[in-house]
Symmetry: C2
Subunit: 191 residues, 2 copies
């Protein structure tokens, strides 16, 4: 069942608790909700199973989302272990917490696509999970990786995807097309 919905945009979500102690955990059920306003959602499992990230977000209102590269996929997967409350997974798995521009939550320094979000709403779903909706506050990407139309070629950035509970994949450009219209054939666009 965990494979059926398709590949997933896996990322590391960093938070801090009320005392400022960082937490880092891997999340794969992330979903783009809209560009204007810029909203991103992720699914947090029931609080008994995954308590720290959602509690920290409820307490502080802020978090960061950081894409995962092949170079640190093993460390990223290790953050899925059930660590005791208050354990700083940055230190435990060996990733670097970096603060930028006064945002209260650190980013993963090793990541090449980093986002800061402020909590917009938390929606409880019927199965005990939560849709956590965040508004984009900051985004850091290599400037040269952003095309004139805003497109970011994520395979060049090294961003990976996941499948099921434990499998990770790299990606390769296949095709890019023009905006589809009912009365016109598609044209391919270069990556």
């Amino acid at each position: 069942m965990n494979s059926l919905s398709g590949f997933k945009p896996v990322s590391l979500i960093a938070t801090v608790n009320k005392a400022g102690q960082p937490n880092l955990a891997i999340f794969s059920n992330i979903v783009h909700l809209g560009a204007d306003p810029a909203l991103i959602g992720f699914i947090n499992r029931p609080k008994e199973a995954a308590p720290h990230t959602i509690r920290n977000i409820e307490e502080t209102g802020f978090y960061t989302i950081n894409h995962i590269l092949p170079a640190f996929v093993e460390k990223a997967h290790q953050t899925s272990a059930k660590y005791a409350d208050g354990v700083n997974e940055f230190d435990t798995v060996g990733l670097t917490a970096v603060h930028k521009d006064g945002f209260s939550v650190p980013y993963v320094a090793e990541s090449r696509v980093q986002m800061a979000l402020s909590l917009s709403e938390i929606i409880p779903l019927s199965n005990g999970t939560f849709l956590v909706v965040g508004a984009l506050e900051h985004a850091y990407v290599n400037e040269q990786s952003v095309a004139s139309d805003g497109f970011i070629e994520l395979s060049k950035e090294g961003s990976i995807v996941s499948s099921g509970l434990d499998a990770y994949y790299t990606t390769k450009p296949l095709q890019r097309f023009t905006y589809a219209k009912a009365d016109q054939p598609l044209t391919e666009v270069a990556f």
Copy 2:
């Protein structure tokens, strides 16, 4: 902004209206919500922008999700054009509607991972979009592609991912790991 959330599990969603007329449209904001019960969500844009799929689901309660292969990615992208209400995109773009096991909505015959869903709930989000939650009723995958632990190696199935509004990618296995535990090192698992 459309690239930031990461790669997306793009699929074709088929519905029928009250009169039984099929509709087919590409959706990339799909999210696994849970395995037990098996729930999958997708984001439907505001009804003014994308009216047909959500209306058909509200009217009939059923839909299918079909993974996209490189061989028909151009046809799949073409379904994003704004066709008039009642247009059957299966016919218009040249894909084959196939019925299975008495389910009221057709599948995309060319797809290798096909799912039937019944509507569980539709949750309006603050930006005018909707989280459509469906319960898995049927799933069709090549039996030989399902490992003994239930894992489906989706790159072998040819399932693609998308990025931004118009870019499609294939995937390649990177690494698979054991279940992470706080007090044990990870071990790699073969794909």
